[in-house]
C-alpha cells in the first residue's frame, strides 16, 4: 500500500522534472538567453506583492482592535474595519488618486478623477501604483476605528471613511509624495510615518475627543478605569499580522527592485525597530506597572514599526534600534498621558500612530544620512538643524491640517445626524443596537461594564 503510494509520487515527480527540463531547454534554445521578465515586470511584481501584503493590514487592524475592545461591540468594529477599506477604495478611486498624484499646484492635484487620464511616473504601471497607494489609504482610514471604538454610529463611520480617503489623506499625500510643497522642501518620509500614521492617528484623536470617553472609562475624580479587551489572543494575532504586513509596507515603498539592496535594508531596519520597540515598551511598562503587559508589548512593536516607517531607508541598523527603542518609551508614556487628559482611546491608536508617526518623522531629521538618499544630513551627522526643521515643519503642518479638516468633518456629521449612539445603545453594545447581531452568539458573556 505504502510502497505503491511512494512509486506514484516518484512517477509524478520525475514527470514534473522532465517537463521542467524540457522547458528550460526550450528557453535557452530560443536564442535571446533566459529572459522571462522585463525590469518593469519585476518591479511591478514586487509592488503588487507588497500591496497584497499591505492589504492584509486590514485583517491585522481588525483583529487587534476587536481583541482590545469588549465583546458587545465586536461586530461593529469589524464592520468598521471591513467597510472603511471598501470606502477607501472608492474614495481613492474617484477622487483620491487625482488629488494625490494629479498635476496641480503645491497643495493638491486636479486631474485623473475616476482614473480617467491619470498618469504615473516610474517604471511600474499606473494600476500597480494605484493599488499600492489605495491599500495605504485604507490603512490610514482604519487606524481611526480603534480610537472611536464602541460609541460611534455606523453610518457616521461610513461617511467619515469615504471623506478621509477622498480628501484629507490624498491632500497630505500630494504634499509629500505627489510633488507638493513639502516634497519640494526635501521633506523625508520614506513609507509614511506622516502620510499614513500621523494622518490616521490625528484623525483618531479628533474623533475620540469629539465623541468623549466611553461610559465608565473615567471616574468623577478623574482617575481612569481599565476596560479590558476581550481577547488577547485575537489582539496578538492582529499585532503579528501587522508586523508581517509591514514587510510589504516599508520595503514595498522602494517601488522598484533594483539590485535588491534597498528593499533588503529597509526590511532589516523595519524588523530591528519593531523588536526594539516591543522590548523597550515591555521592560519600561514592567518597571512602571509591575508586570510585563502583553497589550503594551504589542503596542510597543507597532510603535517601533510606525516610527521606522519614515526613516527606514535613510539610516543605519543601530540607528533603527534607537528609533524603535524611543518609540517603545513614547507609546507607554503616551498611553498614560492620554488617560490623564481624560481622552479615551480604547486601543491606543493615538500613542502608536500619531505620537510615533511624529517621532518617526522627526527622527529622519536627527539620524538621516544624505549618502543614503535624504536631501541633507541629519542633526547627528553634521547637517545641523535644517533637515530637522523641515521635518518638524512638515509633520506640524500635517497634524494641524488633519486636525482642522477632521474637526470640520466630524462636527458636520455630528450636527446633521449625531455622531454618538444613545446611552442605552452604548450600554447594550453596538453589536445589538447598530447591527442587530452578536459576535459570539450562544456564548454567555458578561456585559456588566
Amino acid at each position: 500500500m505504502f510502497a505503491g503510494f511512494k512509486r506514484r509520487v516518484l512517477a509524478v515527480l520525475s514527470g514534473a522534472l522532465f517537463l521542467w527540463g524540457s522547458q528550460t531547454a526550450f528557453a535557452s534554445s530560443s536564442g535571446d538567453g533566459a529572459l522571462y521578465a522585463s525590469t518593469a515586470g519585476i518591479d511591478t511584481l514586487w509592488v503588487l506583492l507588497a500591496a497584497f501584503m499591505v492589504f492584509i493590514m486590514q485583517a491585522g487592524f481588525g483583529m487587534l482592535e476587536a481583541g482590545l475592545i469588549r465583546t458587545k461591540s465586536t461586530c461593529n468594529i469589524l464592520m468598521n474595519n471591513f467597510l472603511d477599506f471598501c470606502m477607501a477604495t472608492m474614495g481613492f478611486f474617484i477622487f483620491g488618486y487625482a488629488i494625490m498624484f494629479g498635476t496641480g499646484n503645491g497643495f493638491m492635484g486636479f486631474n485623473g478623477f475616476l482614473l480617467i487620464n491619470a498618469t504615473h511616473t516610474g517604471t511600474i504601471p499606473l494600476e500597480a501604483a494605484w493599488l499600492f497607494h489605495a491599500v495605504f489609504c485604507g490603512a490610514a482610514a482604519t487606524i481611526v476605528a480603534g480610537g472611536i471604538a464602541e460609541r460611534m454610529k455606523f453610518k457616521c463611520y461610513l461617511i467619515y471613511s469615504f471623506l478621509i480617503s477622498a480628501t484629507i489623506y490624498p491632500v497630505v499625500g500630494h504634499w509629500i509624495w505627489g510633488g507638493g510643497w513639502l516634497s519640494k522642501l526635501g521633506f523625508g518620509d520614506f513609507a509614511g510615518s506622516t502620510v499614513v500614521h500621523a494622518v490616521g492617528g490625528t484623525a483618531a484623536l479628533v474623533g475620540t475627543m469629539i465623541l468623549g470617553p466611553r461610559i465608565g472609562k473615567f471616574n468623577k475624580d478623574g482617575s481612569a478605569n481599565a476596560i479590558e479587551g476581550h481577547s488577547m489572543a485575537l489582539a496578538s494575532l492582529g499585532a503579528l499580522i501587522l508586523w508581517f504586513a509591514w514587510f510589504g509596507f516599508n520595503p514595498g515603498s522602494t517601488l522598484s527592485v533594483g539590485d535588491g539592496s534597498l528593499m533588503a535594508k529597509v526590511a532589516m531596519n523595519t524588523n530591528i525597530a519593531a523588536a526594539a520597540g516591543a522590548l523597550v515598551a515591555m521592560f519600561f511598562a514592567w518597571n512602571k506597572f509591575g508586570k510585563p503587559d502583553l497589550s503594551m508589548t504589542m503596542n510597543g512593536a507597532l510603535a517601533g514599526l510606525v516610527a521606522i516607517t519614515a526613516p527606514c531607508s535613510y539610516i543605519l541598523p543601530y540607528e533603527s534600534a534607537i528609533i524603535g527603542a524611543v518609540a517603545g518609551i513614547i507609546v507607554v508614556l503616551g498611553t498614560v498621558f492620554l488617560d490623564k487628559l481624560l481622552i479615551d482611546d480604547p486601543v491606543g491608536a493615538v500613542p502608536v500612530h500619531m505620537m510615533n508617526g511624529i517621532w518617526g518623522t522627526l527622527s529622519v531629521g536627527i539620524f538621516g544620512h544624505q549618502a543614503l538618499g535624504l536631501s541633507r544630513d541629519g542633526l547627528l551627522h553634521g547637517g545641523g538643524f535644517t533637515q530637522l526643521g523641515v521635518q518638524a515643519l512638515g509633520v506640524g503642518a500635517v497634524v494641524v491640517f488633519v486636525a482642522a479638516g477632521m474637526t470640520l468633518i466630524f462636527k458636520l456629521i455630528d450636527r446633521s445626524m449625531g455622531l454618538r449612539v444613545s446611552r442605552e445603545d452604548e450600554l447594550k453594545g453596538l453589536d445589538i443596537s447598530e447591527h442587530g447581531m452578536e459576535a459570539y452568539a450562544g456564548f454567555q458573556i458578561f456585559t456588566t461594564k
Partner: protein, 113 residues
C-alpha cells in the same frame, strides 16, 4: 436570616455594587442570567433572517443577610439599579433556614457575619 435575590440590568452592576458597599454589605454572589419579565426582547437579524430574542442578559445577585441588614440591602439595590424604565428588575426576599460557614463550622448569624 433572609436570602435576597435580585435580578438587575447587567450594566447597573457597578452602581449596585457601589451602593451595597456604601451600605456596608460586602458579601454577595453574582451570576450571569438570561430572562425577561414585562420587558420585551430585541430583534436580531442574521443573514437576512429576523428572529426575536426574548431572553435578555440579566445579572442575578444573591445576598444572605441578618434581619437588621434586610432593609439597607434592598434600599442599596434599588438605589443602584433603578432607572425608572421598564427592565430595571426585581428583588425577592426569602426566609433562610440555615447558613453554615464551611471553614469554621459556624452556623446562623455568625456564619452570615
Amino acid at each position: 436570616m433572609k436570602l435576597i435575590i435580585a435580578m438587575i440590568q447587567p450594566h447597573k452592576l457597578p452602581d449596585v455594587k457601589k451602593a451595597l458597599f456604601e451600605a456596608e454589605v460586602h458579601k454577595m454572589t453574582v451570576t450571569n442570567a438570561l430572562g425577561c419579565g414585562q420587558q420585551k426582547g430585541f430583534t436580531e437579524t442574521y443573514r437576512g433572517v429576523i428572529h426575536e430574542v426574548n431572553l435578555l442578559k440579566k445579572v442575578r445577585l444573591e445576598i444572605a443577610v441578618n434581619e437588621n441588614f434586610v432593609k439597607p440591602t434592598i434600599d442599596a439595590i434599588i438605589k443602584g439599579a433603578r432607572t425608572g424604565k421598564i427592565g430595571d428588575g426585581k428583588i425577592m426576599v426569602l426566609d433562610l433556614s440555615e447558613c453554615i460557614r464551611i471553614r469554621t463550622g459556624e452556623t446562623g448569624r455568625e456564619a452570615i457575619g
